[in-house]
Point group: C2
Chain length 184, copies 2
Amino acid sequence: MNALGYALLGMLVRKPCSGYELTQLLEVFWQAKHSQIYPLLTKLEQEQFLSYEQVQQTGKPDKKIYSITEKGQALLQDWIAQAPAAPVIRDEFLVKVYAIWLTDVHTAKKLFEERISVYEEKVLFRETEIKKMKQEHGKDIEDITSRHFGRYILFQRKLNQEKDEIAWCRWVMSLLEKGAPTIG
Amino acid sequence: MNALGYALLGMLVRKPCSGYELTQLLEVFWQAKHSQIYPLLTKLEQEQFLSYEQVQQTGKPDKKIYSITEKGQALLQDWIAQAPAAPVIRDEFLVKVYAIWLTDVHTAKKLFEERISVYEEKVLFRETEIKKMKQEHGKDIEDITSRHFGRYILFQRKLNQEKDEIAWCRWVMSLLEKGAPTIG
DNA sequence: CTTGCATATGTCAATAATTATATATATAAT
DNA sequence: ATTATATATATAATTATTGACATATGCAAG
C-alpha cells in the first residue's frame, strides 16, 4: 500500500465520502487527481479495506459513498505507529527563486508579489475554514479523541505556514528594494 | 522540459557541477534520486542546454563536470518569468496526523517527539550552512545580483519553516498533555 | 438556446519518480 | 581480511502521477 491509499483510509475513517469529495478534502495534506483516486478506491474496495454504497441523487449524478472496513481500520492503525518517510516538496517557485539573480529586479518583484497575493488568498480561505470548524464542533476539536482533531491541527499548521510564506516574501522584497531603490 | 530540468539548469548557472554534486545540492528545493538526474543530464547535454568536461581525479573515480550553455541560460531565463505551477507537498507524517485521533496518546506523543527531534537536527544543520555562506560571501549574499542570493534566501526560508514546524509540534504536544495528563 | 460551471465517475497513454542492480576507486574502521 | 562509507556514474524494472479523453445530470447566466 502506498501513502495515498492510507490517506484515503484516513479520510474515510473520519466519515464516509464519495471519491469526488475525497479529491477535494485531500488538498490539505496530499495532492492527487481523480484519475489516481478512483482506481485506487476500486482496488482498496477489492482488497476489502473499504466498502461502498450506491447513492441516488436528484439534481446531481449518482455517487458511491465509501466507508472503511474493520480490516481497513486495523491496517491504518498499524501504519500510523510506524516512522513516516521523509516529506517530498516540489515547488517550481523555489526553483525560480534559486536562479532569481539572473533576472532583473522588476521580474523578481513580480514573482514575489504574485506569490504574496496567492498566499493572502490562501490565508483568508484557511481562516474561514478554521472558523467554520470551531463553530461546528466547538472545543471538541482540541481534544485528541475527537475525529476533528487531526484535521484541525493540520489546518492550523497550514495557516501558520501560509502566513510565514507571506512574511518571508516581504523580507525578500525588502532586500530587493534595498538593492535597487525605486525612483519615486 | 520539466521542472527538474530547470532545477538542474538553475544550479549549473551558478557554478559547474558533477551529477553527484547536483544530487546533493538539490536537496534544499527539490528531491530527486541520482537515477533520475543522470539520464536527464545526458538528455540536456544532447539538446545542447548543457556541456560537460571529463575530469580525472586521483583517489576518487573520474567525473563529468557539467556547465550550462548560452542556449540553456536563455531557456532558463524565459522560464523564470512565467507563473510557477502550484507546489506539490507529500508528507506521510501529515497523513498520520490526520488520523491521529485513532491512536492512543502515547503513540501520538511518540510521533510528534520524533518529528521534533528530526527537525531540531535540520535546524542545526541549516544554521551551520547559513553561517558558512555568510563567512564565505559576506554581505554579498543579500544582493540580488549575487549568484548566492537565491540559495541564501531559500536557506533562510527553510530554516524558518523548520523552526515553525518545531513550534507547531510543541503546540500540539501541549494539547495532547491537556487531554491526558501524565501521571507524575 | 448555448455556454459555462459544479457534480460525479471512469479509463488510458504518457511522463515522472523510485527501487533495485551494477560497476569502480579509495579510505577508514573493525 | 572484511565491512562500511564516500565518491562517481549508469541502466532496467516497477510504481506513481499527470493529462487527456469520455460520459452524464442539472443549474445558472447570457
